[in-house]
Every structure is written in C-alpha cells, then in structure tokens.
C-alpha cells in the first residue's frame, strides 16, 4: 500500500527529481501545494508551462531568451568587440549584475568533464567559431568557473582560440575578497601573487 493517496505520492516523486530536493523536502513542498489556494497553484502551473513554451536558447550566444536572437545580442548599446564566455546562463546574470561589463556573451552550457561524459562536442563551442568568422571580435574573456573543470575548459578554449589572433583574457583568480589569506591554498596564493597588480 502507498503511504499517501496516489496523486500525492506522484507529486512527491516528481518534486524529488528536482536538484537539491530530498524525500523530506519533497513531502513538505507537496503538502504546501496541497494546502495552497487554487489560484496560487494555477499560477505555478502557468509559470512552468510558460517557461517551457516560450523560453528558447539564443541561436547566437546560447543564452536563455524569449526572442531569438536575444536582447544582449541585438542591443545597440553593447560593445560588439568583446565576447565574455561563461558556463551557465546564471553565470551571465551574475556578471551582468555588476554593470561593469558592456560587451557580448557566449554561454557554453557546461564545462569539460570526462567523468560526467562532457567533452567539447557536448558544449556550445561550434557556434562560437561561427560568430568569430562573421563578427569583428577583438577580445575574448574567459569567465568559466575557477574549479578544475572550468580551468580545463578555459585552457582548452585558449588553445583553440589563440591561432585566431584576438586578445584572450581570463578573469583574475586568487584570494577572494572578504576572506582571509590563511584559507588560501598554495596554488590559489601562487596565482594571486603572479597576477598581482601595481598600485
């Protein structure tokens, strides 16, 4: 026999498929939905449907968008001479929030990871080269994550891009702001020292 009536069990099962949601959280969410006003749950259903119906990937930069090409790619206010490469759309949002960068983006949708079966073919690298053929790009900024997979991806892309002759830069890496030097490991500290800046 099931612990709950079948529709409830089904909902819990579905919720549990979400990342970061375990059995207990799934149960809590299910009961929240169960007790919520009809209106509220309808809005949730609608939001989910809308995302699935309307959100597509930009054919130029692979960012998520509701128009193709996306607003970043078509905005006249952006500097078309620079492309900043990130792993995920939410990395783009993080950078955009700083309002420091006014160039274009390219989203890879992942990073190299042989263990998880992700090679160059699983990443959106091909259409980056198509872009570089038609657009006059002067600088590529590699903003993949500062972990082993992001580093490998940046190293790999550098090898492919170097022969094209544009400027290739990597976001600075080293001691995190607001942290303590004590907690930086040798390699991070080494990076922070080699990439130190003149004041």
């Amino acid at each position: 026999m099931l612990d709950y009536a079948e529709p409830v069990t089904k909902l819990i099962d579905e919720l549990q498929k979400m990342p970061g949601v375990g059995a207990k959280s799934a149960q809590r969410l299910a009961f929240h939905i169960l007790r919520a006003e009809r209106e509220e749950t309808d809005r949730l259903i609608e939001a989910i449907q809308e995302v699935k119906d309307k959100i597509i990937f930009c054919s130029t930069c692979n960012n998520i968008t509701d128009v193709d090409p996306c607003r970043y790619c078509t905005s006249p206010g952006r500097d078309r001479r620079a492309i900043l490469i990130v792993e995920e759309p939410y990395n783009l949002v993080t950078i955009e929030k700083t309002r420091e960068y006014r160039g274009l983006y390219h989203v890879l949708h992942g990073a190299l990871s042989p263990i998880r079966g992700i090679g160059p073919d699983q990443l959106k690298i091909k259409n980056l080269f198509e872009r570089l053929r038609v657009e006059e790009v002067e600088e590529i900024i590699l903003a993949t994550n500062p972990n082993t997979e992001g580093e490998a991806t940046a190293n790999y892309l550098t090898k492919l891009l170097k022969p094209l002759g544009m400027r290739i830069t990597r976001i600075a890496m080293g001691v995190p702001v607001g942290s303590d030097l004590e907690y930086a490991d040798e390699v991070t500290m080494h990076k922070a020292l080699t990439n130190r800046i003149e004041l």
């Binding site: 190299l112 990871s113 997979e149 490998a152 790999y156 907690y183 930086a184 490991d185 040798e186 390699v187």
Partner: protein, 401 residues
Amino acid sequence: MLLTRIEASGFRNLEGFAQFGSGLNIFYGDNAQGKTNWLEAIYILGNTKSFRTSQLRECIAFDQQQAVLRGETLRGSTTKQIQLLIAEDSKQLFINGKREALTRYLGNLDVFAFSLEEMDVIRGEPGQRRRFIDRGAVAVSPRFLNTLSRYNQVIKQKNRLLGEASQSDNPAQYISQVEAWNEQLVELGAAIHDQRASYVERMNQVLDQNDHGRAIFGAERITVRYRSQLEGKGDLDNYADLFGERLALRLTAEIAAGHSLIGPHRDDLEIMSDGREVSRYGSAGQQRSALLLLDLAQVSIYNSIYEESPVLLIDDIDAELDRGRIEALLSELEGRAQTFVSTSRRAIANRYRDRAQTHRVERGQAVRETGSYDGVFVGAGFDNDAIDQADDGSMSKPTAG
C-alpha cells in the same frame, strides 16, 4: 592541544564517554572489548579519517543509522566542542555546535597514530608512504589538503579522458583536451612536489638531531629521502618546468596507455636505516623502530611549527614494542604530547598507574580508574564530580619508578 573528553554514540561498539589527563592515558582490557575503537574514535574526531578503514561508514554500529563523536579540546585556556557525524554516505563537522567546512575543522585536534596498520608505511605500496608524508604536511599546513584534492580531481578526469582516447579510432583528436588538463596538473603537481620535498627535508633534520631517540632504539641512523619519479630526468628544483616538459614528451605514450603515467602520484619515500632500505633489509623490530622514529619526527615537526603538542596514539603497545622500548618511548614522550596507548596487558596498566590515567575497557565502555594504588574504581564513568576530585593533576606528572 589536549583532548579532555570524548563521547561516542552509534560508533562501533562504544558507549558513553571518557575523560582524559594531559599526559599518558592507557586503555587496557581483554581483546575485542573496544580498546582500539576508542583510539580510532579519537583519531577520526581529529582527522576525520580512520587509520583502519577508508570507509568511514564501517564505523557506524550495526543497528544504527549514524555515528556521532563529540569531543572537548583544550588549548591554552580555550575549550572547544568539536563534533563529527558519520552517516551512510556523508560526514558532517561541527565546531561549538556550528557546522564547519573541512579546512576549518582540521587543525583543532591533530592526531598522529602508530599502529599495526601503519606498518604498511614501511612494507606496503608507495601510496602508503605518500599518504604518510601528506598527513604530516597537511597537519602543519591544512590548506595543502586543497591542493591534493584538486590534483586528484584532475588526475581522475585526465585518466577518464585518456581511457576514452585509447579506445578511439582517432586518438589524435584528444590531444588538445589532454593538454588542457595537463596545464593544471603542472601547477598543482609542482605545489605537491615542493611541499612534500620540503617536509621530508625537515623530517631528515629532525631525525638527524634526535640522538636521544637513536639511543633508545638502537644505533641505527634513520634517514628519509623523497624520491620523485622524475629523478634523473632534469632539474627537480624547477619541478614545474620539468613536469611540463615530461608531460609533453610522454603525451602519446599516455594516450596509448589509457591512463596517466607521470606525476607526483607516482613518487615514493625512501626510508633508510644506516643507509640501507629498511623495508628490504630491516628486521621486523628495526622496521617498527624506524616507523616509530618517523612518527616521533612528525610530532617534533608539528611541535616546532605550532609550539604545542599534537595527540599521539599507540595501538597495542606491547605487540609493537618490548618492555625496555616501551619504557624509553613513554619517557621520551613525557611532557611532549598527550599520548593514548592501548594494551591487553594489565601489568602495563599497573606499571604506569602512578603517572597515567588508566581506562579499563569492557564491552565498549571505558571506565576510568583512579591513580591510587588500591585500584578502586571511581564510579562507572558517569560520576563527573568524583572524577574531577580524583584528578588532582598529579597523575600526568612523572614520578620515580
């Protein structure tokens, strides 16, 4: 640093808690009662790893979901509660009730252990010796753990990639991917090589100065040497460049082999007694002495860096050492490190009763005995006041005899 108290629940067969003195602490009792389990609990509480198993979940008691170790440490006049929770496939660390990351947790209770299992450092695979150096190096520089774990991640990724490449019809297409991982390997590998080499160098200095230790354990001069796989291939003082060159040179060989062939994960430590390899030429007794001297050297290095003592565990002390060596060792450690030993011999517990805290272990419970000659128990380990009164601090001090 001192461990003043430990409490275990759901951990192997242990039950209740035990309180400790600042000097020598002895667990004694019959076999299979839990003596080594108490030592292991102390080791895991400090290092978050076991000296007996690589699978922490094996420590969870048969009928339990999780094991919890709770300890109280004393440093100067500061006490800290540290806690480690072991679940089926995770562990959680707490300091003063607050969850903490591994790098912040480590260093609150540094524990070195001498046990039968550790003899693999002498006799076993090179990996055992690399881990021995790494444990010592991490204790004096906890952030080194980060470098090690990132290196291991990169090696895993690279091995997977090389495995794929070796099976492929067109292995050449993998070259630039392998190179992308190699770049990180060079950086991390150089950090590991340099850290290990300088730790081993330091160890040699300590071994060289330890005339006292030599006097105890016989006349042999123990020396160690970090043996890089790249020895004889170029300038090891500039490891990063050398490693990079070798990786480039061996790229196709690595692709053909399907796994990585070079790097500090292939290095070794040479342990010599009067210039001869202990693993090959030493008797069992010489091997034990050598290992003990290495352990003591680690304690010394730790001492010289932190100006305080780590905790030292010696499992089954009478199986490892004869009476004279036990006596010499324990007086050598007097005042240098809080020491925990286990023994099945009541005679040993009796002999040191006047300067040690002895805990009789029976069915997982550690029952503390007083230092008094009549051997009357003070409660069953639950009567805090009685224990505090009995502990006038004199037990940890040496007395004649």
